[in-house]
């Protein structure tokens, strides 16, 4: 199964950059949604996560708030 990864981010959020770098380094395809440019997506992110902070990372439907490398690795089953 191919992992479906969505990152809800803002352009100036350092944790969002860390998340992007992590997925690129580990060659994991992801969709980045800049909520600063997309208010509809911002509302979607708030609805999904129940909160208003970025990044929000959606890995196959599992919602994570913030950048937590260990939690991401666990969700993706990588070391």
């Amino acid at each position: 199964m191919v992992d479906k990864v969505i990152v809800y981010s803002t352009s100036s959020c350092p944790w969002c950059h860390r998340a992007h770098d992590f997925f690129k380094k580990n060659k994991i395809n992801f969709t980045d949604i800049n909520i600063g440019e997309n208010q509809k997506a911002a509302k979607e992110m708030v609805k999904k996560s129940g909160q208003k902070g970025v990044p929000v990372i959606d890995i196959n439907g599992e919602i994570m708030v913030g950048f937590d490398e260990q939690a991401i690795k666990k969700a993706l089953k990588i070391k």
């Binding site: 350092p14 950059h17 208003k52 902070g53």
Partner: protein, 315 residues
């Protein structure tokens, strides 16, 4: 030298730590720099990554904090003698003249050590502040400001970081209050002028937020003084900028002396602590003027002192 043995181990990979790593390598020290960005801790690059615009670092008239942090990191990593690892340090032990630095993944040995552990945000501690964290209460304006487009928000605090947060928020929100407990906010004069000239920003002095209220998300704050006829201020976002807490627990554990604020007491000529072979740099120290540029200077000085210490003990 074995793979996990180093001349110099730096705990902290913000500007001060990365500058120390770069300088350590230039002086021929096999250097390990350890940082961590798990959970809500600051990413590699440190606190400067949460600053929107940096205009006070020589050589760069204007760039973002992340851009500057990336440049400093790339510079450090360009030296073969530098190993940068994203690992959280959990313990430090001193065994004769060697320091054992324990992370969540491994243990490293260092002849010298530099604490560049910095600070973390001081949390707002009033009723509602925990309940509404990330539900309207935020600590990183740079990250979360776009979520408050056309909303009313407040920044709590009166220092330069509060002013910068307010300016970032004013790019998105329709109204930004700065709520400050003192008589007059105290940012750098250039930012004070920007705040005073900004039509969306209003400063409420001599006032504290004593409660945050809402349902699912923040809806209002309660003030300890009446403002325009009411102690209730309706808003959707509260950005907290009330200072920082020093991260010096590991240093204290091995006997490094700190002051009443927890800041590591340094010899500012050498960046030495009271313990031989132990140095410190950046926001964790008792330096009064804490800026990236002063932290970077500490880092270079600490690396040079570590080099002298290692050279002296070779003989």
């Amino acid at each position: 030298m074995k793979p996990k043995e180093f001349d110099l181990i730096i705990i902290g990979a913000g500007g001060a730590g990365l500058a120390a790593a770069m300088y350590g390598a230039r002086l021929g020290l096999k250097t390990l720099c350890l940082g961590s960005s798990h959970g809500t801790e600051l990413p590699l690059g440190g606190v400067i990554t949460t600053t929107n615009v940096v205009e006070n670092y020589p050589g760069f008239i204007r760039l973002t904090g992340t851009e500057l942090a990336d440049k400093i990191r790339e510079h450090a990593e360009s030296y073969e003698l530098v190993t940068l690892k994203e690992e959280k340090v959990t313990d430090v032990k001193k065994d004769k003249n060697i320091f054992n630095v324990i992370t969540e993944n491994s243990t490293y040995e260092g002849k010298t050590i530099i604490f560049a552990t910095g600070t973390k945000w001081r949390k707002l501690d009033v009723p509602g502040s925990k309940e509404f964290e990330n539900k309207g209460i935020a600590y990183c304006a740079l990250c979360d400001a776009p979520l408050f487009k056309n909303k009313i928000v407040a920044v709590i605090g009166g220092a330069d970081s509060s002013a910068k947060d307010a300016l970032v928020l004013a790019e998105h929100a329709k109204k930004v209050f700065i709520i400050y407990r003192g008589d007059k906010i105290r940012p750098e004069p250039i930012n004070y002028e920007r705040i005073m000239a900004h039509k969306k920003i209003e400063v409420i002095n001599n006032t504290n937020v004593i409660e945050v209220k809402g349902k699912q998300f923040v809806e209002k704050v309660i003030l300890d003084k009446v403002y325009k006829g009411s102690k209730e201020l309706e808003l959707q976002g509260v950005f907290v900028a009330i200072g920082h807490i020093i991260i010096s627990d590991l240093a204290k554990k091995i006997g490094v002396k700190t002051n009443e604020k927890g800041e590591i007491i340094l010899d500012h000529k050498t960046s030495e602590t009271n313990l031989p072979g132990v140095f410190a740099a950046g926001d964790v120290t008792d330096k009064p003027f804490k800026q990236l540029i002063t932290g970077v200077a500490d880092g270079c000085t600490a690396a040079f002192s570590a080099y002298e210490y290692v050279s002296k003990n070779k003989k």
